[in-house]
Homo-oligomer: 492 residues x 2
């Protein structure tokens, strides 16, 4: 079972990749004040506690600079606390004549101005995970002045870069724009997506977890805020705002945005309720000590210290339970003994199945679109997507049950990971347990790549690992890749 | 014809919008060295010359800080000259075990690692306009080390933030990744889009200019570069790379990327050839003086000085004709006498037409999707999209020819603009010439919003202006907006 012993692959490598100081990552510190440096160090210390609480060694190569990266991501993600809307808008107000008095709208250039589809990320104040936002902003100019269009995005960005709740974010963007531009009215609509917590889902294998790469299965809410002549309740201009969104296939109906209930947004809160009812409890109780001697309580204290270092008040009502929620999320990635989890898997699980998910393609058996969610060990941020597994069936008609492969994927995903290692470990496990040639393709979105730093929304990573016959048979490999492509195409 | 006198709307406004110093925009200068400040000032001076060459007053409110913004955009857009790949990659190489020797691929974690759909912008070295890039990068790990996934985007970004040509960009990304990661091989595929020059299009009204908001009608090329085991010519791994792209519906066939001819990429070069043949010449000859006393030659010299200030060598082969091309582009926005251009328009143009582009909806006549390309006066960057015009037909069956409305749109688009003013001016022109109630909706992508600063790719701006009956009849306005939505939906 050597292939299942994850540890043996993580030894110090003799050929010594030179892990020199990360100049690019360190660069951001150069301009920091003493108190900022102190805050950054406090966050790094707290992250080390969290890593230990997960049963990890914070000094192993992959994790050594994780505290630094996480601190940087948190500070970048909350930079909005230090930005002033006045500074952004003031220089970008331009005099612009309006339509002739009495015949047209408003005192600005014409009527409504709407910027649609601004992609943003914010941090959920309830669980500290990033959530994705599609932001639409409109205003009706007044006083013969318009604002530079990019400033609408910039102001929205300032408030998204704070610990937020969707409705408050909409309200803050709306009132900031209203106060700084002094228009006849402002309209803001936000479509927000929050990643689901794995343990909030049904435990059986036919889970509702997203089976595609996009955000199906994520929790969505639609919120809005408006002021002045755009006030939703009374205004035909609000209808115009919605009509202009509709031109870009953004379909929001009047009243849609009133359906949001703050308490049902973040899955950590929903989960907390169900955990109180004794359902599916997995997180350790306060006082319980991890194998590295770090208690749950000290992990909670570490998160509170992060909140404090970000300039937040951990005793603010909305933040009181945040340390609990964040630790709860992290504990999904607790280091555990894989041998134990995989113990039940053996060739006994290889049996005849009648399953629509199988595609018989000569000898290649394909199990496609196994959903997963894992945690990037470099940034402590989720990456999620699907795993496709192909294997060469030696005995015709003998197949591995989909649920077995789901268990294998789940076992390796539920820990701090990198996608490359996850791919390899799944391939090696299947190869070792079933003694068959195997190909594994993992497709994933990384929140670390889309929510911070370079913010490449839409980027997506694919990795591939092949063992046994697939590594020498380019044709078999090609056929399997084509099978995935055909399947994706047929699912649209 | 007061409504056609653009000048009367651009007077100094008495209610004085406080155009205080733009703190946010100035902020970037604080960390600049003396020589950087000098370069920035040189670019600003050059932009002032260009504005004068366009017949504009660089001191009018809308333009006063344009030199500053353009200088900043150019410096941001070429920041890659100062970035070192080594700094980015070095701290992000992680030891990662490979598949068991002899049974799998490569010495890294598994096989191929591919990041798909990285959105980038670069500046065309031939005409200084930004072009859009969809970048796909792959590599096969070696020496038991993998690179942090976000570094693949970051390295691609370094080289895109320079004056570029698609093929060179692909080659530079490929060789930088190969040298810094030292993998078994690297694959890079770039899909690039370049905006079309208006005068390169047929002069008649049925132009092939993009009739939708996306980049239909833009010039596209597909280029690639590869190294080591991924070398395109010999490698089945190159096929795997293309197969992994196909999973995201990125369909590139082997050989597709060899079709690119550098000489046919930038429309400025194509145009230059056709201009040499005496076709459709619009740009003034050297020595010709604009109404503000600035010669074409001094505009060219100003652009050469910008190139120099960006650290480029204006005498480098690929840059020799760039000043000519950029000035040629800018001259599309030359300030001109609108009265002259619109002289031919009158009620005589209102006549019976049988035209599939008309939708008769009770009294409202709709002319949808009139394409346009204009120039943002704040950043000297294109914004482009479509104009929808609705009017209330007083005499049943009497319609305004589509080509007449196209001329109106074209007249106001061909100058330095802001979208709000463009919308108002079109509405006022139609209202004034034809004496009818009118509604104008403009939908546009702004390259200033997606290629610089906050880089909100996908964001899109809609503006609306109403005159006459439409300003009091919310129902008529709603019907027209619904007509556009229905039309967009039916066109997919």
């Amino acid at each position: 079972m050597g292939a299942l012993d994850a540890g043996c692959f993580e030894e110090e490598l003799e050929n010594g990749v030179g892990l020199e100081e990360d100049v690019a990552e360190i660069g951001w510190e150069s301009g920091m004040t003493d108190s900022e440096s102190e805050s950054a160090r406090a966050i790094e210390d707290a992250v080390r506690v969290l890593l230990q609480g997960l049963g990890e060694d914070p000094e192993r190569e992959g994790l050594r600079r994780t505290p630094h990266r996480v601190a940087k991501a948190f500070r970048e993600g909350t930079r909005g606390y230090k930005q002033k809307v006045k500074d952004i808008v003031q220089g970008a107000l331009f005099p612009e004549a309006g339509l002739e008095t009495g015949t047209g709208h408003a005192g600005g250039a014409g009527g409504l101005v709407v910027v649609r589809n601004i992609n943003l990320f914010s941090y959920c104040e309830s669980c500290l995970l990033p959530f994705s936002i599609q932001c639409h902003v409109g205003y009706v100019p007044s006083g013969r002045r318009v604002v530079g269009l990019s400033k609408l995005s910039r102001v929205a960005d300032v408030f998204s870069k704070r610990l937020q709740d969707p409705q408050r974010l909409a309200n803050e963007i709306c009132s900031a724009l209203h106060n700084s531009i002094k228009p006849a009215g402002v309209a803001v609509a936000l479509h927000c997506w929050h990643i689901q917590f794995p343990e909030a889902l049904p435990c059986n294998s036919n889970s509702t977890y997203p089976s595609k790469l996009d955000m199906q299965g994520w929790i969505q809410v639609l919120v809005s805020s408006s002021s002045g002549v755009l006030k939703e309740e009374k205004s035909s201009l609000w209808d115009d705002f919605l009509a202009l969104l509709k031109l870009k296939s953004i379909n929001i109906e009047r009243g849609d945005t009133n359906l949001y209930s703050a308490s049902s947004w973040c899955p950590s809160r929903v989960l907390e309720t169900s955990l109180c009812n004794g359902h599916c409890a997995r997180s350790p109780k306060n006082g319980k000590t991890s194998k590295t001697g770090v208690t749950h309580a000290s992990m909670m204290a570490a998160v509170a210290s992060i909140l404090h270092s970000l300039g937040e008040d951990p005793s603010r009502k909305e933040l009181v339970r945040t340390p609990h929620h964040y630790v709860q999320w992290l504990m999904n990635s607790r280091s555990s003994n894989l041998d134990l989890r995989l113990n039940g898997l053996s060739k006994a699980n290889s049996c005849n199945v009648v399953d629509g998910n199988f595609t018989c393609l000569n000898e290649i058996q394909s199990v496609l679109n196994i959903p997963f969610c894992s945690q990037c060990e470099h940034h402590l941020l989720p990456f999620h997507g699907v795993v496709h597994i192909g294997y060469l069936d030696k005995q015709e008609g003998k197949c591995i049950e989909r649920s077995v492969l789901q268990s294998v994927v789940h076992s390796f995903a539920c820990k701090l990971q990198v996608q490359e290692r996850l791919t390899r470990q799944i391939a090696e496990a299947v190869y070792s347990i079933f003694n068959i040639g195997v190909i594994v393709v993992v497709e994933a979105h990384h929140l670390c790549m889309i929510s911070r730093g370079i913010e490449k929304v839409g980027s997506n990573t694919a990795t591939i690992a092949v063992l046994g016959q697939f590594s020498t048979d380019a044709k078999a490999k090609g056929l399997f890749l084509q099978t995935i492509a055909d399947n994706n195409a047929s699912e649209g």
